[in-house]
Symmetry: C2
Subunit: 225 residues, 2 copies
DNA sequence: AACCCATATATTGTTGACAATATTGAGTTT
DNA sequence: AAACTCAATATTGTCAACAATATATGGGTT
C-alpha cells in the first residue's frame, strides 16, 4: 500500500458504510465509547473519524451534546438534487472536452454491461444503485476538475448512496435511465459539451421528480394508516 | 451564547484565520505540538481542528507524514472560480424567487455603502475584499438552499478570502464590479432569476479573467528576474 | 398527578504519557 | 563526492485516566 491506514481512517470508512446501509439509523445518537469498543480502538481516533464525517455531512455534531446521524428529509434531498444538477451538468460539459477516447469507450462498455443486466432481469430493479453511480462518477472524473471530483465524489455521493440504500425510492425503472445515459454518452463522444450538460441536467432533474413523486405517495400511505 | 465553544472550535477558527491571512504560509508543515502549545491546549483538540480544516480544504493531511497548508496554484484557483460560477449562478437564480423585499433592500443599502466608500477613496482598492464577500454571501443565503449556503459559505469562501488576502491579485477596479453588482440586484428586484443567474455568472467569470491575467503578468515578471 | 429541584449517572471534552512511524544526520563504502 | 546504513531524533498515532458538561433519577412540594 502507498501509506498505511490509520485507525481514524478505518473508523470513518466503517461508520460511513454503516450510515449508508442504514445499520446506523437516521437521527441516531452515536455513543463514542460504545462505537470505540465495537471497532476496537480508543475514543481519540473515533472522534477524529466523526469530525471527518461531519465535514461530509453524514453526521451533525453539537458540542457537549453528542453526534447524531443526519436525517435525510424531503427538503434536504431536494437541495441535494438541485446542487447535483448544477455540478454534474457542469462536469458533463467539461468532460465532453476533456475525456479521451479510451475513457469514452469505457463508458460505452459500462452501458453495454448495464443493458445486459437489465435484459437478464427483465427490466427489473437491477444493480442500478452502484452501477449508476459508477456511470456518473466516471463522467465527473472526466471533467478533470479536482474540486468538482472531490465535491461530487467524496461528499455528495455518500448521501446519495444513503438515500438509495433505504426505502424503495431508488426504484426508477432502469430502461429510460439507460436510454438517457446512452444519449449523454453520444453527446460526449460528439464532443458536444452544451448538449451533454443539457442532457445530464434533464436526467438528474427527472430522477428527482421520480423520487419526489414516490415520496409523496409514501406520505399519503402513511397518512391513511 | 447558545452553546459553549470547545477548544477544537477555537483552534479551527484561529488556524483558519492564520491560514487566510498568510500567517501560516502556503505549503507550510503544521507541527502539532508547536501549535498546541501556541494555542494553549493539548494535541487532541488540535488534531480534531485539523481534521475539520481538512474537510474545508484548507489543509491536506498524509498519514504519518503530517498536515500542510494547502497551496493555491493556478489550476486550483481556476477550478475554484469555475465551481463558484456554477454554484453562485444557481444561488442567484434561486434568490430571485426566494428573497423578500427586506433582504433586497438590504442589498441595495450595501451597494450604496460601497459606492460611498469608492467615491471617498477615489476609485481605489477599497474594502472590496470583505464587503464584496458580504454581497455575494447575502445572495447565497437568499437562495434558501442550506446545502448551497454551506458549500459556498462554509468551505469555499475561506479559500477565496485566502486568495484575496495575499498578493495584489484582488485589485479589481471596484467601479465596474459595483456596476455589475447593481445590475444583479436590479434583476433580483425584478424577480428575473434567469437574468440574475446570467449576470452573476458573467460577473464571476470576469473576476476570474481579471485575476488570471494578473497571474500571467506576475509570472512574466518573475521569469525576467 | 404534575412540577421543580437536588443528586447521581452517563457522556463528552481534554490531557499527558506511551507506541509506532517518519525524518535526520553521522559514519562508512564505492 | 555521491550513495548507502544504521542509529538518534522528532513527529504523528493511540490510549487510558481525569475534568467538565449534560442527562437521567428520585424525592419532595403544590
Amino acid at each position: 500500500m502507498a501509506h498505511s491506514e490509520t485507525l481514524a481512517d478505518i473508523a470513518a470508512y466503517r461508520l460511513a458504510q454503516a450510515i449508508i446501509t442504514g445499520d446506523l439509523a437516521q437521527g441516531q445518537k452515536l455513543n463514542e465509547v460504545e462505537l470505540a469498543e465495537r471497532y476496537g480502538m480508543g475514543r481519540g481516533p473515533l472522534r477524529e473519524a466523526l469530525r471527518r464525517l461531519e465535514g461530509q455531512r453524514l453526521v451533525s455534531h453539537i458540542p457537549n451534546a453528542g453526534t447524531r446521524v443526519i436525517v435525510l428529509d424531503n427538503k434536504m434531498l431536494a437541495e441535494l438534487y438541485a446542487v447535483r444538477e448544477a455540478l454534474e451538468g457542469m462536469a458533463c460539459r467539461l468532460a465532453a472536452h476533456e475525456m479521451n477516447d479510451t475513457e469514452i469507450a469505457q463508458l460505452q462498455g459500462l452501458l453495454a454491461q448495464h443493458e445486459q443486466q437489465i435484459e437478464a432481469q427483465g427490466g427489473q430493479v437491477y444493480a442500478q444503485s452502484e452501477g449508476d453511480l459508477d456511470f456518473h462518477y466516471l463522467i465527473v472524473r472526466g471533467s478533470r476538475n479536482a474540486l468538482l471530483i472531490n465535491l461530487l465524489g467524496g461528499e455528495q455521493y455518500p448521501l446519495l448512496r444513503m438515500c438509495r440504500y433505504r426505502s424503495s425510492r431508488n426504484a426508477q425503472r432502469p430502461r429510460p435511465a439507460l436510454a438517457q445515459h446512452r444519449h449523454i454518452v453520444e453527446a460526449l463522444a460528439a464532443r458536444d459539451g452544451e448538449l451533454a450538460e443539457f442532457l445530464m441536467r434533464r436526467h438528474i432533474h427527472g430522477a428527482w421528480q421520480s423520487i419526489s413523486a414516490m415520496i409523496s405517495a409514501e406520505n399519503q400511505v402513511q397518512e391513511r394508516s
